[in-house]
Symmetry: C2
Subunit: 252 residues, 2 copies
């Protein structure tokens, strides 16, 4: 397939390199900051541009790897009428793309700069306005991953909300624990095995069944000690609310 990638952030890098590895033809990289477009295009040895009017108009697929809030604007400015345009966002409805041949190609994963990604297990959530385009996107996704799903915009909204808890908020819990340790000069390293084991458990055990801790044990002594140590600081409210919710759910 001939592909134009719009964007030069983490996802654009990871995805376009992987496309190329799988034999796709990256025609061009677009980014409004020319240097960024150029940097990625050098890796891929393809064309680049920072001007939407210079977008190559002969691609089979235009894939938007850009921030949610820019999707509608960039898609509207794309000089593309009869080709397939997709975005890669978990949060944006496919209909924010004005082109008739539109869709979504959403890898449900977090991407970091410089961190190798194994695409094989990443769930790709695919959607399209036309049946043929959906087939094309599914086929493309299957070259990257064994986990390809047809997901409607409505379902994707639910997924994105769930992912905020599973990723953003769980990471925030790690961040808080690091902060708590740092006040007492204890290295965060000591918690890493626990964090990994807690995450790995969900592969075979429902997190609801695996839930442990003072709230579930109704261990008021530990809870009081912790609240006292948190000393009405920034994390006091969080500890209190999560403990109360966990207790209430446990009593149901």
């Amino acid at each position: 397939m001939n592909i134009v990638v719009l964007g030069a952030g983490n996802l654009a890098w990871h995805l376009s390199e992987e496309f190329q590895k799988k034999g796709q033809n990256i025609l061009q990289i677009y980014n409004r900051t020319e240097k960024k477009a150029e940097a990625l295009s050098k890796i891929l040895q393809c064309d680049f541009t920072s001007k939407l009017e210079n977008i190559n108009r002969n691609a089979d697929l235009y894939i938007l790897c850009i921030s949610d809030k820019s999707i509608a604007e960039i898609a509207n400015s794309l000089p593309i009428e009869n080709n397939l345009v997709v975005h890669t966002s978990g949060a944006v409805h496919q209909d924010l793309i004005p082109q008739d041949r539109r869709g979504v190609f959403y890898p449900l994963q977090t991407f970091s700069k410089g961190k190798e990604i194994d695409f094989k297990g990443i769930p790709f959530c695919v959607e399209a306005n036309h049946e043929n385009d959906k087939k094309t996107l599914i086929k493309l996704a299957k070259t990257l991953s064994i986990s390809v799903h047809e997901i409607s915009s409505e379902q994707r909204k639910t997924l994105h909300l769930a992912a905020v808890f599973a990723n953003n908020f769980s990471n925030y819990m790690y961040s808080i624990s690091e902060e708590i340790l740092s006040v007492d000069n204890i290295s965060f390293d000591i918690l890493k095995p626990l964090i990994l084991e807690t995450a790995n458990k969900i592969i075979y055990h429902s997190p609801k069944e695996s839930q442990t801790g003072p709230a579930i044990r109704d261990d008021q002594t530990s809870i009081d000690t912790h609240l006292n140590d948190l000393n009405n600081g920034n994390y006091y409210d969080i500890y209190k609310m999560l403990t109360e919710k966990l207790r209430a759910e446990n009593k149901k």
Copy 2:
């Protein structure tokens, strides 16, 4: 070493099997429910009892693998005067053990029934009332793990608080995401790669630096959509509070 293990729960099973593998001699298992003591003793092919007065008095180490709230009571009832008695809890001060030769042998990990544990990487937090006993416990811990730490009761209190966030609360976030998906009939499997990647990231990146999501991007559209979808239900308050806290921290 000759060891008496008190308790027959997850930790007692995992720890006594591992002790035995490393050449320690498990003299006896105690549990107030005789059947449970017997079940574990059969695996280990050692003695068992459900009566504290029948505890073998010739062990080098008495290790309490029991609930936090029973530690003081059981230790007080132990017919042991001159031998070393330790507990394995993250939350309990060593001085709740009345014996003069007392200490702590705390594996900072979550243990599940039937799930194999690789002890090598588990941080063991060791403390004792006498220097010689501390040396003994460190030596014993080093037979199990490469990660052995001298941790005071005060530091352990901080660790335990941090572990509540890192383990209990992050698991609760997984649990909430599973619940959110189930309402829309989406399998939790689709989130598993994201959860694993988020956890694995902390090995090389500080969670504070890795933080992503609508709160950090100041993406009010997504936040409003999510709050609307959560519809004042059980998780509405949690989403709202964590988002506000994340935003406030990000602006600091």
